[in-house]
Structures are given as C-alpha cells and as structure tokens.
Symmetry: C2
Subunit: 412 residues, 2 copies
Amino acid sequence: MSSNRAFNSHKGTGNKTLLADKGWNLLAEDVGLPAAVLRESALEQNAQWMQRFSQQAGVKLAPHGKTTMSPSLFKQQLDTGAWAISLATIPQVISAYQHGVRRVIMANQLVGKYHCEQLVELLRDPSFEFYCFVDSVDNLRWLGEFFQQHQVTINVLLEIGVPGGRCGWRDLKDVSALVDVITKYSSISLAGLSFYEGVIHGDNAEQKIVEFVSEIKQLCQELVSQKVFDAEQVLITGAGSAWYDVVAKELTTDTSIDFVPVIRPGCYLIHDTGIYQDAQQSVMSRSQLACDIGGDLVSSLTIWAYVHSVPEPGLMIIGFGKRDAAFDAGLPTPELHFRSGDSAPKTVPSHWQSVKIMDQHLMVKTHADDDVKVGDIIVFSTSHPCLTMDKWRFINIADENYVIHQQIETFF
Amino acid sequence: MSSNRAFNSHKGTGNKTLLADKGWNLLAEDVGLPAAVLRESALEQNAQWMQRFSQQAGVKLAPHGKTTMSPSLFKQQLDTGAWAISLATIPQVISAYQHGVRRVIMANQLVGKYHCEQLVELLRDPSFEFYCFVDSVDNLRWLGEFFQQHQVTINVLLEIGVPGGRCGWRDLKDVSALVDVITKYSSISLAGLSFYEGVIHGDNAEQKIVEFVSEIKQLCQELVSQKVFDAEQVLITGAGSAWYDVVAKELTTDTSIDFVPVIRPGCYLIHDTGIYQDAQQSVMSRSQLACDIGGDLVSSLTIWAYVHSVPEPGLMIIGFGKRDAAFDAGLPTPELHFRSGDSAPKTVPSHWQSVKIMDQHLMVKTHADDDVKVGDIIVFSTSHPCLTMDKWRFINIADENYVIHQQIETFF
C-alpha cells in the first residue's frame, strides 16, 4: 500500500489526485462511505449570521471550539470577526494554540499538574491571551501556588453557578472567600465573571436566566467598586447555543459599569436538525434582533451512507452507526436519497424513520413498497453536532453540487 | 512548542522522556487527565481466557476488532492464538492489513465502489485471506460484475438473519436466489454461512438462538450436498460477546458435516462493568465449559479524571464526559478515589452515583459529608467498551502499580 492509500484508510476519505484536480464528487462515489460532509455555503451563512447577531447585540463572540475541534473552522470563525475561541480542556487549548489561535477562554476549571505545566509554556508567549474559570477556594490556592512557583500570571474568571447546576460558585451574594485567595497571589489575575446558563431548565427558564444574569451584573458592579479586578477590561461571559439571545440582551441592558460582554455559542456553525434547530426556533420567536438580521442558522453537517441491506419489506439497514453519528439527542434523520444514475438526490418521504442505531448500523423503517435498493445512498442530518463531529478525523466540505474541494482535520 | 509537545496535545498523554525512562505514574500525575487506561494483566487474562474457551469448545476465535481498532491489541489476540480478526468496514480492514493482519472476516456487507476499489488492491496479495457477508441478490450481482471486471475473486459468506433483526437473508428454507447468482460469477467464491444472533431478544432468547443456529447448520448441510461451496473449508461464523457459549455449543453439537465454526466476540478483551459483565455472568451460569476454564473475564478499561468542582455538598463535577466515555449502556461507574499524597487509591463508597453526563463533564452524587476535594482523582469503569474506545487516539496500558509503560494507538 502506498502512503496515499494509508491516508485513504481513514473513513470518509477519497482519492487524493481527484481532490487536487476537480474535487471528489459524492454522487460519483469518489469517496468511501460513510462520510461526514459539511456544506460550505451553510458554514459561511452560519458564521456570518452569528457574527452579525453578536455585533448588533453589542457583545463579543467567542465561539465554543469544542464542538468542532477543527482549526480550519476556528480560522473561519476568527476571520469572520470572532473575538476569541472558547475551549473546554488544555489539550484542546494546545491544539488551537498550535494552529495559531491567540485568544482563548477555557470555559472550564483548570485542574491537574501535567496540564498546568503544559499551559505554563503557552502563557510565556506574550502574544497569547488566556482565561480560565475558577469556582473554589481549593482550586484557587493550588493555582496560586503553582503559577507563583513558575513565575507566570494566570487570568481567571469567577464562575458563578446555580443550585443543582454544574460548576460555579453558588453564593451570588458573597464571593469574598474566593476574592480573599485571589488577592493573596500575584500569580492570579481576576479578569471577570463567567457562567453557563444552559443548565437552567423548566417552564420559566427564560425568566430565571434573566434574573441570574442580572445578579451576575450586580456582583460585577460590587467587585468593580471593591477594585478587585486586575485586568484593564473586565469580562462577563456566558451563553451556549440555546440562550445566547437572552444572555446578550441582559448583558447589554442598563449597565452602568464598564465590562466586555462575551457569548460562547458552540453549535451555531454546524447547527443541526434536532435540539439546536428547536433552540434556534425559540431564539427567533423571542428575539426581534435575531429576526432583523435576515436569514437564519441552517444545518451544515450530513452523514452520507449506503443502504447495506433491505432484508425485509419496509426495513433498510444503513452502513453507519454510533461510531459515526450522534445519537444522544434523537436518531439521525434521513434527508436525501440518491441512486447511481439519478441526476440529483431526492428528498426522502417523511414516513422514513430511523428506529434503532447500533455501533456500525442504522435501521430505518420505510413503507413496504418504497423503491429502495442495496447500494443506494442516503444522506442524514444528526443531533447534536458535538457528538457527530468527534467521530471523524477528517470531514469533507462540499459545494452545492456535492463536490468536495477540501477535507478538514479534527483534533479530538 | 516542540514536536514532543505536539504529541502531548492529545488528551491523556504524558511526558515522553518519563515513559522511556521509568514509565508514567498515574498517581504522580505524570499524565494529563482525563486518560483512558487499560490494565495490562486484565488484557492478558481476558485474551487467554477467551482463547482457552474457544479451544476447549472446539471453535476458532475471530475477535471482532471494531471494538478496539487497535493493531497492538489485534496482535495480542493473534499471538494468543486467534484464527482471524473480524472487522466491520473497509477502512477498518485496511488499517488491520497495514498493521500485518492477514486473515479478516468483514462481518458486514461490502457496498460501494470506492471501498471495493481499495479492497481489490488488498485481495491481489496472495497472503491476504478475506471474507465478507452477503445477504441480497442486488449486492451479489454488483459484486460479481465488479470483481469480474477487476479479475479478482472475493470470498463471501451468506448472512442469515431473523425477522425484525438486522442484516441477513430471512428465508432459511430457500437461499437458491442467492446461490443462483453466485454460481453465475466465477469472481465470487461461496465460503460459508454467517449470522449475528445478538439481535435475538426476549425471555426465550437462548432457545431461539439454539434453533436458529441449528437451522443454519441444516442449511449448510444442504448446500454442501448441492456442492455450491467453492472453498476447501466451509465456515460457519456467528456469536458476539453475549451468546458465544450458546453458539459455540450448538455449532459443535451433532454435526455430521465438515465445517469450521468461528465465533466473533468483540468485547471480551476490554470487557466492562455493565452490559457485558451482565452477559458474562449469564455465560458463566449457562456454560459448564466456561466455568471449567478457571478465572473469568474482568473489566480492563478505566477512565481517570479529576474532580473539577464540588459546587454544593453531595455533588462532584468530574472533568470528563460524553467526549471521553460511553454512555449508551449506563453512565460511568466510579471505582477508585485518590488524593495526591495518599499511598494508594481507595475503593469509593457504594453510594457514589453518576447522575448526569454532558459533553465534557460528569456529575456524581455523594453524601454531603464525604471527603472529596477539587483536584482529587476518580477512576471510572464504563459500558459498553466500543464507545469508550473510539473516543481516544491514544490509550495507556498500566501495570498493577498504575505505572504506564506503553501507549497504544487506535485507528477509528
């Protein structure tokens, strides 16, 4: 096997020569299936849409990069105007740094000797701006000692949480225990406040989120008056992909203090046809600003796969499974059907339903007399995007004619 | 960043120099967490146990390699005596081939031009023995034409299925439609029969499986008498990790015809503390042969992670999530608790329970007064193993002292 073929052993790859020449045509089966395919125009539309939203809402955009872990897509987001990339772990931060990202919010606690040792090397680069979350006295003391020993300063954002939620200091009225530790260590620079409202659920979630963000603003104001922030600009950062409109609005309403509001949606670039489509419909129904931007987010990621078997009338077995697609927020949704020789893929009948997913297979119910054959290609959308993305080392970017001109790498 | 550091940006890796010198000590935090860790002695025990079972049951062992997709582990299985490696897709087959595997059962249909073109190159190597499943006339015709054009012969195993199951020809009484196509193409060599009994469920699953396998043996006998097999040795292959004892017993009982029985369990080497532990307990309660072997399968895979936050009494937030561990067959189970300075990890209290998993976090309920701290290490087992393995590009192999001397690569 040549080294070309070695490259091609990854699932979803195609013939290298063709790619350089005229691209891989998905309909001509130039690519091994299953394959993960991103629609170029949808990526562009989504990147632009969220950037415009952020600009018009008056907030900075720090897209959560953990969704895609693809430096090519980080670059697209930064080129479109994103202020920073948010990430969840130190290996993710290192990957982003190695690919040129120079402003990172690690929307997570920084824990563990090995990762801190790795981070120290990055922080010695004066061009690299880094923030992480802290929510405990124990963690702050440990970080203070560690970075003092290494003579490096680390920027932290106090993470505020809600009862029953995830991380985050629970007492919004009193953060003095944390502030006391921070002021002890010159190696720790308090740069702002942070939160993740995505853990707030229930019928009155919107109202609870508004109140939560409002209280965080009040806390920020108190801390400003106490002069405990070291940074020139104080950040307040929150917002996943479901409530970014509510967070942005509250962060930019009636603020008498000077802080930089930063939102961190992760799933807008890929989007989906499941939980984030539903979430975005809620955004559009709530936010006049979102409606005024024009257009909307669209699902950009599909899985292309073959029909492997039609073992009994009304049942198709498709050649992909849990190894290739998310299944934690609904099963993959069949969208298009193509048979070699057809001029273009057709929209599938609405009664086609994924009923079961296994490691390497998906079962789809059809009507008994539907025209489906082994070797047909079925195109699926999935939900949620983070867990489809992390199943692929290489993801294809296709144009409107289903021709792939670029294959991007992921770093999970 | 040096290239050493580039390597280290993958999650769960450690300092290269230490590994070469005295290994990475998990308790000394030589490795970034979360990390996936395989216990060397458990791998050895499991490999030996299943090989002995197969030998004493009189069947060949073709472990399903899709579980681990790790050539180092394929080698261990083959070195222990496995007859072949089973795989699910052509990219998996190519990876195995590139790492020296020379007998493969692709326990799946072979569909798609691109992958067939890749396979042709492998089949031209006379040292490479390959079998795939077929279950439809359409697929057989396509394969017949394709391999005829390329002047290569492909070995196929007729896959037999059950109503409501996955792939597989449903009519056990009549496979003449398939045989007719096969006899038309000299490019197709019928080498045996195959099935996957893991889709048979219900209270009387065992009896149904016995009958199913028995009928397949009868079908094999008829096909032998019809002289439709081309191969010198006829294979009958079935059995995942849950029913291999039942399948092996039935395949080797009262057989008047000469065939090679092959079982394909995938999860025994890694095993787990969830669905496959339960399945193995059933094996041990059913099979005297399994009991007579001595010892048993043990869970070999753990995830090591830090406590990131103890935001309220009785709740720990752990620094790993859906991005790092299976969650399709129960949430990860906390097993061990270690604090820097302790002499060894302690078994966790039985009331510690994982209650929710998110992309990068796991929530664990404890008692309010349990002694847990940010920075503590918690070790988890998971279920099922396939979906933990595919989250990692590098997996650590540790000895009984939690020292890592080897890191193996996966090829998902």
